[in-house]
Symmetry: C2
Subunit: 125 residues, 2 copies
DNA sequence: CAGTATCCGATGAGATACTG
DNA sequence: CAGTATCTCATCGGATACTG
Protein backbone atom coordinates (compact mmCIF):
# COMPACT_ATOMS: atom_id res chain seq x y z
CA UNK A 1 0.00 0.00 0.00
CA UNK A 2 2.38 2.67 1.10
CA UNK A 3 6.17 2.64 1.64
CA UNK A 4 7.01 2.65 -2.04
CA UNK A 5 9.34 5.42 -0.92
CA UNK A 6 12.05 4.81 1.65
CA UNK A 7 13.34 7.60 3.79
CA UNK A 8 17.11 7.40 3.90
CA UNK A 9 18.71 9.44 6.63
CA UNK A 10 22.02 9.26 4.79
CA UNK A 11 20.55 11.25 1.92
CA UNK A 12 21.40 14.93 2.07
CA UNK A 13 17.89 16.27 1.57
CA UNK A 14 15.93 13.59 3.40
CA UNK A 15 13.22 15.11 5.62
CA UNK A 16 14.08 12.59 8.32
CA UNK A 17 17.32 14.40 9.08
CA UNK A 18 15.92 17.45 10.84
CA UNK A 19 13.59 15.18 12.81
CA UNK A 20 16.52 13.06 13.92
CA UNK A 21 18.20 16.22 15.11
CA UNK A 22 15.13 17.22 17.07
CA UNK A 23 15.04 13.82 18.78
CA UNK A 24 18.75 13.31 19.40
CA UNK A 25 19.81 16.91 19.80
CA UNK A 26 21.38 18.24 22.96
CA UNK A 27 18.18 19.22 24.76
CA UNK A 28 15.58 17.34 22.73
CA UNK A 29 17.02 13.97 23.73
CA UNK A 30 17.00 14.86 27.42
CA UNK A 31 13.46 16.24 27.22
CA UNK A 32 12.28 13.03 25.56
CA UNK A 33 14.08 10.97 28.15
CA UNK A 34 12.56 12.94 31.01
CA UNK A 35 9.04 12.64 29.59
CA UNK A 36 9.43 8.87 29.44
CA UNK A 37 8.87 8.97 33.22
CA UNK A 38 5.43 10.39 32.62
CA UNK A 39 3.74 13.71 31.82
CA UNK A 40 5.44 16.76 33.19
CA UNK A 41 4.92 20.48 33.41
CA UNK A 42 7.27 23.03 31.91
CA UNK A 43 9.12 23.96 35.05
CA UNK A 44 9.30 20.36 36.20
CA UNK A 45 11.06 19.51 32.98
CA UNK A 46 13.30 22.48 33.46
CA UNK A 47 14.40 21.22 36.85
CA UNK A 48 14.81 17.64 35.64
CA UNK A 49 16.93 18.56 32.63
CA UNK A 50 19.62 20.36 34.57
CA UNK A 51 21.24 23.29 32.88
CA UNK A 52 18.65 23.90 30.21
CA UNK A 53 17.49 27.48 29.75
CA UNK A 54 13.85 28.51 29.34
CA UNK A 55 14.53 29.48 25.80
CA UNK A 56 16.13 26.23 24.67
CA UNK A 57 13.60 24.05 26.48
CA UNK A 58 10.69 25.89 24.89
CA UNK A 59 12.35 25.68 21.50
CA UNK A 60 13.11 21.96 21.80
CA UNK A 61 9.60 21.15 22.99
CA UNK A 62 8.05 23.09 20.13
CA UNK A 63 10.11 21.17 17.60
CA UNK A 64 9.10 17.85 19.15
CA UNK A 65 5.48 18.91 19.28
CA UNK A 66 5.59 19.88 15.63
CA UNK A 67 7.02 16.44 14.79
CA UNK A 68 4.08 14.83 16.58
CA UNK A 69 6.28 13.24 19.24
CA UNK A 70 5.16 15.34 22.19
CA UNK A 71 1.70 16.52 23.23
CA UNK A 72 1.13 19.90 24.82
CA UNK A 73 -1.99 20.25 26.91
CA UNK A 74 -2.92 23.65 28.31
CA UNK A 75 -5.19 24.26 31.29
CA UNK A 76 -6.18 27.89 31.26
CA UNK A 77 -6.55 28.14 35.00
CA UNK A 78 -4.67 30.64 37.04
CA UNK A 79 -1.86 30.11 37.44
CA UNK A 80 -1.48 28.64 33.98
CA UNK A 81 -0.81 24.92 33.79
CA UNK A 82 0.76 23.24 30.76
CA UNK A 83 1.44 19.56 30.70
CA UNK A 84 3.75 17.84 28.26
CA UNK A 85 3.57 14.14 27.42
CA UNK A 86 4.83 11.73 24.80
CA UNK A 87 2.67 10.61 21.91
CA UNK A 88 2.67 6.88 21.06
CA UNK A 89 5.41 7.38 18.49
CA UNK A 90 7.29 9.56 20.94
CA UNK A 91 7.10 6.84 23.59
CA UNK A 92 8.78 4.31 21.33
CA UNK A 93 11.52 6.72 20.34
CA UNK A 94 12.09 7.77 23.95
CA UNK A 95 12.43 4.13 24.99
CA UNK A 96 15.04 3.51 22.29
CA UNK A 97 16.82 6.68 23.30
CA UNK A 98 16.90 5.66 26.96
CA UNK A 99 18.19 2.25 25.96
CA UNK A 100 21.09 3.93 24.16
CA UNK A 101 21.69 6.37 27.01
CA UNK A 102 21.63 3.56 29.55
CA UNK A 103 24.25 1.62 27.68
CA UNK A 104 26.35 4.73 27.26
CA UNK A 105 26.29 5.69 30.93
CA UNK A 106 27.07 2.08 31.82
CA UNK A 107 30.11 2.29 29.54
CA UNK A 108 31.33 5.56 31.02
CA UNK A 109 34.16 4.02 33.06
CA UNK A 110 35.79 2.58 29.96
CA UNK A 111 35.00 5.69 27.92
CA UNK A 112 36.70 7.93 30.47
CA UNK A 113 39.73 5.65 30.35
CA UNK A 114 39.80 5.93 26.57
CA UNK A 115 39.61 9.71 26.75
CA UNK A 116 42.51 9.86 29.16
CA UNK A 117 44.69 7.63 27.01
CA UNK A 118 43.83 9.65 23.95
CA UNK A 119 44.55 12.97 25.61
CA UNK A 120 47.83 11.68 26.95
CA UNK A 121 48.91 10.37 23.56
CA UNK A 122 47.93 13.61 21.86
CA UNK A 123 49.22 15.99 24.48
CA UNK A 124 51.18 18.88 23.02
CA UNK A 125 54.73 19.52 24.30
CA UNK B 1 32.59 -4.22 42.83
CA UNK B 2 32.39 -0.99 40.92
CA UNK B 3 29.40 1.16 39.99
CA UNK B 4 29.05 2.75 43.39
CA UNK B 5 28.81 5.87 41.25
CA UNK B 6 26.07 6.28 38.71
CA UNK B 7 26.45 8.53 35.74
CA UNK B 8 23.30 10.56 35.32
CA UNK B 9 22.94 12.24 31.98
CA UNK B 10 20.33 14.58 33.46
CA UNK B 11 22.95 16.07 35.74
CA UNK B 12 24.41 19.30 34.46
CA UNK B 13 28.06 18.41 34.87
CA UNK B 14 27.90 14.70 34.11
CA UNK B 15 30.77 13.63 31.82
CA UNK B 16 28.34 11.44 29.90
CA UNK B 17 26.71 14.47 28.34
CA UNK B 18 29.44 15.45 25.91
CA UNK B 19 29.81 11.80 24.92
CA UNK B 20 26.10 11.57 24.21
CA UNK B 21 26.47 14.61 21.99
CA UNK B 22 29.34 13.01 20.11
CA UNK B 23 27.26 9.89 19.49
CA UNK B 24 23.91 11.46 18.70
CA UNK B 25 25.13 14.69 17.16
CA UNK B 26 24.32 15.71 13.62
CA UNK B 27 27.31 14.04 11.92
CA UNK B 28 28.49 11.70 14.65
CA UNK B 29 25.29 9.70 14.55
CA UNK B 30 25.46 9.28 10.77
CA UNK B 31 29.13 8.32 10.89
CA UNK B 32 28.38 5.69 13.52
CA UNK B 33 25.48 4.40 11.48
CA UNK B 34 27.57 4.20 8.34
CA UNK B 35 30.38 2.34 10.11
CA UNK B 36 27.89 -0.26 11.31
CA UNK B 37 28.03 -1.60 7.74
CA UNK B 38 31.69 -2.38 8.23
CA UNK B 39 35.06 -0.60 8.19
CA UNK B 40 35.33 2.32 5.83
CA UNK B 41 37.91 4.77 4.59
CA UNK B 42 37.63 8.51 5.05
CA UNK B 43 36.37 9.38 1.62
CA UNK B 44 34.03 6.41 1.55
CA UNK B 45 32.42 7.74 4.70
CA UNK B 46 32.28 11.15 3.16
CA UNK B 47 30.33 9.84 0.20
CA UNK B 48 28.03 7.73 2.36
CA UNK B 49 27.16 10.54 4.75
CA UNK B 50 25.85 12.89 2.12
CA UNK B 51 26.40 16.56 2.72
CA UNK B 52 29.11 16.30 5.34
CA UNK B 53 32.18 18.46 4.85
CA UNK B 54 35.75 17.26 5.29
CA UNK B 55 36.10 19.43 8.31
CA UNK B 56 33.05 18.20 10.17
CA UNK B 57 33.64 14.54 9.32
CA UNK B 58 37.22 14.72 10.56
CA UNK B 59 36.09 16.52 13.71
CA UNK B 60 33.29 14.05 14.43
CA UNK B 61 35.52 11.04 13.86
CA UNK B 62 38.18 12.44 16.16
CA UNK B 63 35.65 12.92 18.93
CA UNK B 64 34.38 9.36 18.53
CA UNK B 65 37.92 8.02 18.45
CA UNK B 66 38.73 9.89 21.63
CA UNK B 67 35.67 8.35 23.29
CA UNK B 68 36.92 4.88 22.34
CA UNK B 69 33.96 4.19 20.05
CA UNK B 70 35.80 4.27 16.73
CA UNK B 71 39.18 2.86 15.73
CA UNK B 72 41.46 4.62 13.29
CA UNK B 73 43.99 2.47 11.49
CA UNK B 74 46.57 4.12 9.25
CA UNK B 75 48.46 2.39 6.45
CA UNK B 76 51.38 4.59 5.52
CA UNK B 77 51.45 3.48 1.93
CA UNK B 78 51.20 5.88 -0.92
CA UNK B 79 48.58 7.01 -1.40
CA UNK B 80 47.76 7.11 2.28
CA UNK B 81 45.07 4.72 3.47
CA UNK B 82 43.13 5.22 6.70
CA UNK B 83 40.44 2.83 7.76
CA UNK B 84 37.81 3.58 10.37
CA UNK B 85 35.89 0.92 12.26
CA UNK B 86 33.72 0.58 15.34
CA UNK B 87 35.07 -0.68 18.63
CA UNK B 88 32.99 -3.27 20.52
CA UNK B 89 31.30 -0.54 22.56
CA UNK B 90 30.83 1.48 19.41
CA UNK B 91 29.15 -1.46 17.70
CA UNK B 92 26.54 -1.74 20.41
CA UNK B 93 25.82 1.98 20.40
CA UNK B 94 25.62 2.05 16.60
CA UNK B 95 23.12 -0.81 16.64
CA UNK B 96 20.93 1.02 19.14
CA UNK B 97 21.23 4.18 17.09
CA UNK B 98 20.22 2.39 13.89
CA UNK B 99 17.29 0.85 15.71
CA UNK B 100 16.11 4.34 16.64
CA UNK B 101 16.77 5.71 13.17
CA UNK B 102 14.93 2.82 11.56
CA UNK B 103 11.85 3.41 13.65
CA UNK B 104 12.03 7.11 12.96
CA UNK B 105 12.28 6.75 9.19
CA UNK B 106 9.47 4.20 9.31
CA UNK B 107 7.36 6.79 11.12
CA UNK B 108 8.13 9.56 8.66
CA UNK B 109 4.75 9.46 6.89
CA UNK B 110 2.89 10.21 10.11
CA UNK B 111 5.56 12.69 11.21
CA UNK B 112 5.24 14.66 7.98
CA UNK B 113 1.49 14.74 8.47
CA UNK B 114 1.95 16.06 11.98
CA UNK B 115 4.30 18.77 10.73
CA UNK B 116 1.82 19.89 8.10
CA UNK B 117 -1.04 20.08 10.58
CA UNK B 118 1.13 22.00 13.00
CA UNK B 119 2.32 24.47 10.38
CA UNK B 120 -1.20 25.00 9.17
CA UNK B 121 -2.53 25.61 12.66
CA UNK B 122 0.32 28.02 13.44
CA UNK B 123 0.39 29.83 10.13
CA UNK B 124 0.69 33.59 10.53
CA UNK B 125 -1.75 36.02 8.81
C1' DC C 1 44.29 10.09 -0.12
C1' DA C 2 43.45 12.08 4.21
C1' DG C 3 43.53 15.39 6.33
C1' DT C 4 44.84 20.74 8.40
C1' DA C 5 44.44 25.92 8.24
C1' DT C 6 41.88 29.90 7.57
C1' DC C 7 38.06 32.85 6.76
C1' DC C 8 33.40 33.84 7.41
C1' DG C 9 28.39 33.63 7.80
C1' DA C 10 24.56 31.10 10.21
C1' DT C 11 22.95 29.02 14.14
C1' DG C 12 23.08 27.63 19.07
C1' DA C 13 22.69 29.06 23.45
C1' DG C 14 22.80 31.80 27.95
C1' DA C 15 21.25 36.10 30.55
C1' DT C 16 17.97 39.26 31.36
C1' DA C 17 13.70 41.50 31.16
C1' DC C 18 8.93 41.46 30.04
C1' DT C 19 3.77 39.45 29.27
C1' DG C 20 -0.88 36.67 29.27
C1' DC D 1 3.29 29.54 35.67
C1' DA D 2 4.72 29.34 31.09
C1' DG D 3 6.39 31.31 28.11
C1' DT D 4 8.25 35.52 24.45
C1' DA D 5 11.61 39.27 23.15
C1' DT D 6 15.99 41.04 22.81
C1' DC D 7 20.85 41.22 23.24
C1' DT D 8 25.16 39.11 23.06
C1' DC D 9 28.74 35.78 22.55
C1' DA D 10 30.46 31.11 21.30
C1' DT D 11 30.37 27.35 18.53
C1' DC D 12 28.80 25.09 14.32
C1' DG D 13 29.58 24.44 9.88
C1' DG D 14 30.57 25.35 4.75
C1' DA D 15 34.08 26.96 1.14
C1' DT D 16 38.49 27.28 -0.22
C1' DA D 17 43.26 26.52 -0.27
C1' DC D 18 47.19 24.03 1.29
C1' DT D 19 50.30 19.72 3.05
C1' DG D 20 52.44 14.88 4.22
Amino acid sequence: MDSDVDYDVFGAACPSRPVLEDVTGRWGSLAMGALADGPMRFNELRRRVEGVSQKMLAQSLQALERDGLVNRQVQSTFPLKVEYSLTPTGEVLAAKLLDLIGYLTGSMPSILDAQQSYDQAHAKT
